[in-house]
């Protein structure tokens, strides 16, 4: 763990300004096996200290790639000067930020930073398993990754904390081709929170799921193009999670609301079917710890859940301290920074659509003509709520039964229109936590949801 270099500097915070001081170390480990060749074998370690000072409505920020008290002091001084530079020129004349709870949390337990050999010892047998078992592959790629953030946070009036957040994943990418020679690909991430040994266990633990992935690939080889147009679809939990994050979550981030997001005028209005509720959870959801828990954010706010949609009605935004004041909402711990040299931004944490009461098999049976969309490779949305997600594994539904696999395609829609078409919500919750959200800075986020039946535009022929 990094030494405590920030706690003792709380006394040197400038009077009349709100100050934050953060020391941080971020680790990333990665190996890539492509067709049996080790094409990536990297470790990175980044550490430093930063300070942010709020004065009259503007912020000054400074950072240095140095974990020392001297560097922390210099960062505080420079951040204060930067705040003064802007204040003198802009003269926003805003007062102090509203008070938040103060206190401190005990340090979280340390984790094991494994040597590089351990990652290779995991991917090599996986590669051997795939190579020896599956006949119809044109190529295979196995990627092992582990990343972690360790932060010491001290603020002038909030919570102090020493946080550790490791996570680890193995990605399996399988390629084949159709009989016409068209390449087809599937991939899946395995793993979750914790160090690599905790998140992944043994290589053979994921054999069964790799078999299932290969089965999808073989069906995709015999696949068909989706028929373009507005269709009834059942989104998997993974897909509804990305919908929650991309299409709804971003539009209700307060900075984007101020920037003109479609959600601004919708507060208090019905934006979805009454079957839909959505929350950005801090650390515990439905009685269980979430994949990427946040206990204190980088502004020193003690984290709590941010309720966004309740029974179809938009009930809240995600705010930081400054936008919380603007909207009259209490900050819930959404202000997070990625690296030591990044300023906190409003970010999602563990964003989910709540499970409902339907069974997946009943949802399929009740669908005359449509698609079951299972895996996605990316998603984007904008402030109008118009979204698109890539679909890498999906199946036709014909007369209440799953049919042929479909080739890669894209779905799109407008979130607050599309959510009103949701007429069935399954009783299961699927999390995914391997991704990074991009918004000036990357950020590990988790998302999840149940299966949703709804209407979306699908690309294809």
């Amino acid at each position: 763990m990094i030494p405590d270099i920030v706690s003792s500097l709380q006394g040197s915070f400038a009077k009349g300004a709100h100050s934050e001081l953060r020391a941080q170390r971020s680790l990333a480990r990665r190996v890539v096996l492509l067709g049996g060749n080790l094409v990536g074998n990297t470790r990175s370690d980044s550490q430093g200290v930063c300070a942010r000072v709020y004065k009259n409505g503007v912020y000054g920020f400074a950072s240095a790639a140095d974990l020392s008290q001297d560097a922390a002091r210099r960062a505080l001084e420079t951040a204060s000067k930067n705040a003064v530079f802007l204040d003198e020129r802009v003269k926003p004349g805003k007062g102090a930020l509203p008070d938040i709870k103060s206190g401190s949390l005990p340090p979280q337990p340390d984790f094991l930073d494994l040597e590089q050999k351990r990652y290779l010892d995991f991917v090599n047998p996986i590669d051997e398993y795939i190579k020896s078992k599956y006949e119809h592959l044109t190529s295979r790629t196995i990627v092992a990754t582990a990343d972690s953030m360790e932060k010491q946070i001290v603020t002038s009036d909030g919570y102090a904390a020493h946080i550790l957040a490791p996570r680890a994943y193995v990605y399996v990418i399988l390629n084949s081709q159709t009989k016409d020679g068209m390449p087809v690909e599937v991939f899946k991430a395995f793993g979750g929170p914790g160090s690599f040994d905790v998140a992944l266990g043994n290589p053979e633990d994921i054999h069964e799921e790799i078999d299932a992935l290969y089965d999808h690939l073989m069906k995709k080889r015999e696949g068909v193009f989706a028929s373009a147009g507005l269709k009834t679809v059942i989104l998997s939990g993974e897909m509804s999670g990305i919908l929650a994050h991309e299409a709804v979550g971003h539009t209700v981030e307060a900075d984007l609301v101020l920037g003109g997001s479609v959600a601004g005028p919708m507060l208090g209005k019905m934006v979805a079917s009454p079957l839909v509720s959505m929350t950005d959870f801090a650390h515990t959801a439905f009685g269980e710890k979430v994949p990427l828990p946040v206990y204190v954010d980088d502004e020193g706010v003690l984290a709590d859940d941010a309720e966004l949609i309740k029974d179809g009605k938009l009930v809240g935004f995600m705010v930081n301290r400054e936008t919380g004041r603007h909207f009259g909402m209490e900050p819930k711990g959404n202000a997070r920074a990625f690296a030591f040299n990044d300023e906190p931004l409003i970010r999602m944490r563990n964003t989910v659509v709540h499970p409902g009461e339907s069974k997946l098999e009943d949802m399929i049976k009740a669908t005359e003509d449509g698609y079951y969309l299972m895996y996605t490779n990316n998603g984007q949305a904008d402030t109008t709520g118009e979204f698109m997600f890539g679909v890498t594994v999906g199946y036709e539904i014909k007369e209440g039964k799953l049919g042929k696999a479909i080739f890669d395609t894209t779905i799109s829609g407008v979130a607050f229109d599309m959510l009103k078409t949701v007429d069935m919500v399954s009783d299961t919750l699927t999390w995914s936590s391997s991704g990074f959200c991009g918004k000036k800075q990357p950020m590990p986020v988790s998302m999840g949801g149940p299966e949703l039946r709804c209407q979306v535009m699908i690309g294809g022929k």
């Binding site: 980044s46 790639a65 590089q116 050999k117 290779l120 920037g259 080739f407 890669d408 000036k440």
Partner: protein
């Protein structure tokens, strides 16, 4: 000796222990000063001082790499140990290679910032947008100056030192009218001086004007095959996908590239010449040397429709028996055509003018489908309404075989130069 060179020399010394036959180190320091404007108001002045240290060792033909950001001797020693341990854990592969010769010292751009002038130019941009584009909401503007000092050394005596500085401007914006808004759009540019108002650089004026005209939209009607004119901004992202799907290490090593056997053959329309030219005068602080220690040289990726070069690293090149790419700058220069943009639009019976593509990563075959964002319908030679909920699908390589024309106008944003490109055979589907 500067700190970067000192750190690099220390690291190289620690890497060259028993059995390590190739080793390289890159060390750099960057200083950034950055203004952030949120919702049209100055919010943050941020200054960062960062170090970066990248170590690579090849031992018994096994390669390990480590990166860190501390120039302290203990941290450098630990990084070197870690790097060698990573190499020892790896598997032998004789394809790994680093440069055997090369030296140089480079200075480019504006190494020192003028923060008062950067503030003034930023404020001028905000004021001008407010006055000239009243329906535009600037969601975020980030302007910055970055100075970068870097050193590369390897055990074969290759040594480069580089100092560069540049200003960058990044905008996110949308058109707003009451409760209606356009999709957000973005613009990014880099420049080595503050002589010109930011509004006059790159394609910013056109993008802002377009945002005001994209507030009221309607979906395209039905499904049809039509012409799509990609703006330079959008063309750039499509070309990135094309390169990733057909000519880079990953797809050539795993054999999934449809162009794997296409070198020196015609792969796209003969009017297309696409080069990677970091030394072009329109490119600010272009790449001087590659991460593998080779001097960067301009090259044609596609010349008159013929694939001339893969974007291969030296490792990838050795594995597939081809030549490595002479640079990795992605400083894309596409040869303009001789048709005015206005003419390209006039000649389009039915199609779209697409400024931004929001879609899934194209499949390995290059099939893409996604949403046409910040886009307009073209009907009977005229730009008519802005569209929403309209998807386009096609094939990356296929559409470049089926081009209608290339504009004579180009846009330069400091990273390259691209024209507007009109292609046929794209499936356009609305409601």
């Amino acid at each position: 000796m500067n700190r970067e060179l000192q750190a690099a020399k220390q690291a190289l010394e620690h890497l060259l222990v028993d059995g390590v036959h190739d080793a390289s180190v890159s060390a750099s320091t960057s200083r950034k000063s950055e203004f952030t404007v949120d919702s049209g108001k100055f919010n943050l002045l941020r200054t960062t001082l960062d170090h970066s240290l990248g170590l690579m060792a090849i031992k018994g033909h096994c390669r390990g790499t480590v990166s860190g950001n501390s120039f302290e001797e203990e941290a450098i020693k630990a990084a070197a140990r870690d790097c060698i341990a990573s190499a020892e854990a790896g598997q032998p592969d004789e394809a790994w290679e680093i440069a055997r010769e090369g030296e140089g010292s480079f200075v480019s751009g504006a190494p020192e910032p003028d923060m008062d002038k950067l503030f003034t130019r930023t404020k001028e941009l905000l004021d001008s947008v407010k006055a000239e584009y009243p329906k535009v909401m600037l969601e975020q503007v980030v302007t910055a100056h970055t100075t970068h000092k870097s050193v590369y050394l390897n055990n074969h005596g290759v040594q480069y030192e580089s100092t560069s500085g540049s200003y960058s401007v990044s905008l996110m914006f949308s058109g707003q009218e009451g409760e209606k808004s356009s999709s957000f759009n973005g613009a990014y540019l880099i420049t080595d001086n503050l002589d010109t108002p930011f509004l006059e650089l790159s394609n910013i004026r056109q993008n802002l004007a377009d945002a005001e005209n994209q507030i009221h939209t309607k979906p395209a009607e039905g499904k049809f095959e039509g012409t799509v004119i990609f703006t330079p901004d959008c063309l750039g992202s499509m070309l990135y996908s094309l390169i990733g799907n057909y000519v880079t290490d990953g797809v050539l090593l795993d054999g999934t590239s449809l162009w794997k056997d296409a070198l020196d053959t015609k792969v796209v329309d003969e009017r297309i010449t696409l080069s990677m030219n970091p030394s072009d005068s329109r490119v600010v602080n272009g790449e001087k040397y590659t991460g593998e220690g080779f001097i960067s040289q301009d090259f044609d990726l596609i010349k008159n429709g013929v694939l001339k070069q893969f974007m291969l690293s030296s490792y990838g090149a050795n594995k597939v028996g081809k030549t490595r790419a002479p640079n990795f700058s992605y400083a894309m220069i596409m040869q303009p055509g001789d048709t005015p943009l206005e003419e390209l639009i006039k000649n389009t019976k039915k199609g779209l003018l697409v400024s931004r593509y929001s879609g899934g990563a194209p499949g390995t075959g290059g099939e893409f489908s996604g949403v046409a964002k910040n886009s307009f319908l073209i009907e009977d030679g005229k730009v008519t309404t802005a569209v929403s909920e309209t998807m386009i699908s096609g094939n990356l390589a296929g559409m470049l075989k089926d081009i209608v024309g290339i504009s004579k106008e180009t846009v330069e944003d400091g990273t390259g130069s691209l024209p507007w490109l009109a292609v046929d055979g794209i499936t356009i589907s609305g409601k």
